[in-house]
């Protein structure tokens, strides 16, 4: 079984998830790791649609948000003792409602993939986001609704008041969800989803209804998005309209795409990178969204398969033992590239800052003086030229490292 074959990877993943709080135990780190665990489940569920099923959705936050809203309502019911069960099961409630929403919406939206599907998902997303503001007794209007996770039966004495306790809950749920999503890719349904993505017509000729295959992926994706929503509800204890609108749908698309759609691990990378950027960069710069946008466009243009695709590109060179041929060219191109990026960021920041002195990488830049500008522009120009020149030798090195040896050719 494929899972057992790679069991060392899974054990490492579980150990990493559970061991991280021992290394990073500050309050900020725990809250970031909570967000990462939620983002991983959400991004993976999105990848089930786009990466594995070829369905571009602009409304995936609907399932996340609905799962989250139902979870918060469940928390409220537990608080008032209408229902009595441990809050450990809350993500399951989110998942069930994500699944129900998926079954309902998928029943009419999975007829076609491509543009029609993308537009239906956009329409449904906007429809539900706008309706959530109208039905304020359920969705709580602009303020959203909030609950309290400390009620309900305790679990071996834990009452989940601390963030770290919720982290372990989230980590275990994230692990379970990841395992199941991986297993899904190995089932016939998951395999057929790939086939329907690549060529629906041929899949139909083999005897599979491409619509049914899409529907199954869609429902499964709704289920896991709902679980992520439930985890969100547990972590923050509140949820607002913002969690099911287009902005959240867009963010999960960014995560999955930047990470790399074609690979199972891609969305995990994307979720980690984007959550870290979100939490750490926003402390340093209020322009981090601008950088995120630039990074996203560059990824789409130059790394169409995302970060994971970039890593996997080196597989051939790795197998051939040619990686060391690439190290030197990478460094030669990498240093001016990093320098160029640093200068551009400095230019953007000093044009935006209102302080007298701008602290940047240990330097003190004076935004008012033209010399600062000229020097930065000069370095940036030089670095850009160096990158352009050195890319040629990088290309050559790439060709040699991936070239087919003579005897194999014959």
């Amino acid at each position: 079984m494929a899972l057992l074959k790679n069991s060392s990877i899974w054990i490492a993943f579980l150990v990493a998830l559970l061991g991280l709080p021992l290394v990073f135990d500050s309050i900020l780190a725990i809250s970031i790791m909570n967000q990462i665990a939620i983002a991983i489940v959400f991004a993976l569920s999105y990848n089930m649609l786009l990466g594995q099923g070829g369905m571009l959705s602009f409304g995936h936050a609907v399932y996340f948000g609905l799962g989250g809203f139902l979870s918060v309502h469940a928390l409220i019911l537990i608080e008032f003792e209408t229902m009595v069960f441990s809050i450990l099961w809350i993500p399951l409630i989110g998942g069930v409602f994500g699944l129900l929403a998926g079954v309902f919406i998928g029943s009419f939206s999975t007829h076609k993939a491509g543009t029609v599907f993308a537009m239906i998902s956009l329409g449904i997303g906007e429809l539900i986001a706008a309706s959530s503001l109208i039905f304020s007794s359920f969705f709580g209007g602009e303020a959203g609704i909030s609950g309290d996770r400390t009620f309900g039966p305790t679990f071996f004495g834990f009452d989940f008041a601390q963030n770290i306790e919720i982290y372990y809950v989230a980590a275990v749920w994230a692990f379970i969800a990841t395992v199941f999503m991986y297993l899904f890719t190995q089932t016939p349904a998951g395999r057929m989803a790939n086939a329907v993505r690549d060529n629906p017509e041929r899949a139909e000729f083999i005897g599979y209804s491409s619509r049914k295959v899409r529907f199954i992926s869609f429902c499964a994706s709704g289920l896991f998005a709902g679980i992520a929503g439930g985890l969100f509800a547990l972590n923050y204890e509140f949820i607002t309209e913002e969690n099911l609108n287009a902005a959240t749908s867009g963010r999960v698309l960014l995560m999955a795409y930047i990470g790399g759609l074609g690979y199972f691990i891609g969305p995990i990378i994307g979720a980690v990178v984007l959550t870290l950027m979100n939490s750490l960069l926003s402390n340093y710069s209020e322009l981090w969204m601008l950088y995120l946008g630039i990074m996203f466009l560059l990824t789409v243009m130059f790394l169409p398969r995302g970060f994971a695709g970039f890593i996997m590109m080196h597989q051939l060179a790795w197998v051939r033992g040619n990686m060391k041929m690439l190290i030197k060219p990478y460094i030669i191109t990498g240093i001016p590239a990093v320098l160029f990026a640093a200068c551009v960021i400095a230019l953007i920041e000093i044009s935006h800052t209102e302080d007298e002195v701008f602290h940047y990488l240990g330097l003190e830049l004076n935004p008012a003086s033209p010399i600062t500008w000229l020097v930065l522009l000069g370095i940036a120009g030089g670095a850009f030229y160096a990158v352009k020149r050195s890319v040629l030798q990088l290309n050559d090195a790439w060709e040699t490292a991936n070239a087919i040896p003579k005897e194999e050719e014959a």
Binding site: L50, G54, L122, G123
Partner: protein, 316 residues
């Protein structure tokens, strides 16, 4: 009651024609490249902001002429250096690229102009009521908006169907290979159409900016509506986009102007519900309240029952 109806119709037409200026470019670009440009409304927003900045120094009329040109040039550059590169990676990559572009443009606007609403004013020349009907005024600026958009509609129709350029464009949409063999530079035509489409969006932004307020969220407000129009009208169909624009414009305008709601309907049926019921919101909602939802409801219904849209061709 009559004046409410007349003014709702007039305002609906103004909005409808404005929406058509965006939708026409979007649908033309779609039929050429097969990609829905998510950033289309962002170019509309850029138009409003450029015109605002120009109007501070040179007055409204300079902005009216130059802002769309700047936006069009920007759009052409995006096609040449961005989209054409991404084209190799397929349609999904192109859609995602334009989606990212919309995100980037919104962030850049906040970077250059700030997050607050800009005080972009209507020109003094048009600051008078055009006519007064049954005690209500119709501002000259709205009349001006309508004139510009109708003018664009007629001009576009004429150029596309009668002029030589328009015929080449139409041929390039259906038979790019043949047009290329005849010696026309098809990539250049694509770039030109993309530039023209974005310039039209920019022009819509210039004239809508003072009325619909110029702020960083204006692209999001209009963007998804324009999508709805293009899809309802049938992807790639100019006539469909025109009908759908007016339909959506009037629908929203009537819904906002009306004051009927569920309570009236329930009274009519003789049913009553007590307040405080969990589904209270459902019994008390009224038409102006759900006006923003109507286009999306229409979109979903059209896509389910007629996926090709009103005037769209059958999908192969």
């Amino acid at each position: 009651m009559l004046e409410v109806f007349i003014f709702a119709t007039l305002n609906g037409l103004v909005t409808g024609f404005l929406l058509f200026m965006l939708a026409s470019g979007l649908t033309l670009i779609f039929s050429m490249m097969g990609v829905l440009n998510f950033a289309h409304a962002s170019f509309y927003m850029l138009g409003a902001y450029f015109a605002y900045s120009l109007s501070l120094y040179f007055g409204f009329w300079t902005g009216l002429i130059f802002a769309p040109i700047i936006v069009g040039v920007l759009g052409a550059m995006v096609e040449r250096y961005g989209l054409r590169r991404v084209h190799q990676s397929g349609h999904v990559a192109e859609l995602v690229f334009t989606f990212g572009l919309a995100f980037l443009i919104e962030e850049s606007i906040q970077f250059f102009w700030g997050r607050d609403t800009k005080n972009y004013q209507t020109p003094e020349l048009l600051d008078f009521p055009l006519f007064t009907l049954l005690g209500q005024e119709f501002s000259a600026y709205r009349g001006f908006m309508m004139t510009i958009s109708v003018g664009i509609f007629i001009g576009l129709y004429y150029v596309l169907t009668k002029s030589r350029v328009g015929i080449i464009i139409q041929a390039a949409i259906t038979h790019p290979q043949t047009v290329s063999n005849l010696g026309h530079n098809v990539p250049l035509i694509f770039m030109g159409v993309f530039g023209m489409g974005t310039a039209l969006a920019g022009l819509a932004g210039v004239i809508a900016g003072p009325v619909l307020t110029t702020f960083p969220g204006m692209a999001t407000v209009l963007g998804s509506i324009v999508f709805v129009i293009v899809v309802i009208g049938g992807l790639g169909s100019l006539a469909g986009a025109f009908i759908a624009s007016l339909l959506i414009g009037l629908l929203q305008s009537y819904a906002i102007a009306s004051d009927v709601g569920m309570p009236d309907l329930l009274n009519l049926l003789g049913v009553s519900f007590e307040r405080g019921h969990p589904l209270n919101d459902l019994w008390t909602m009224n038409l102006p309240q759900i006006a923003p939802v109507l286009p999306y409801l229409l979109l979903v219904l059209v896509l389910i029952f007629r996926p090709t849209g009103l005037m769209g061709k059958r999908e192969e």
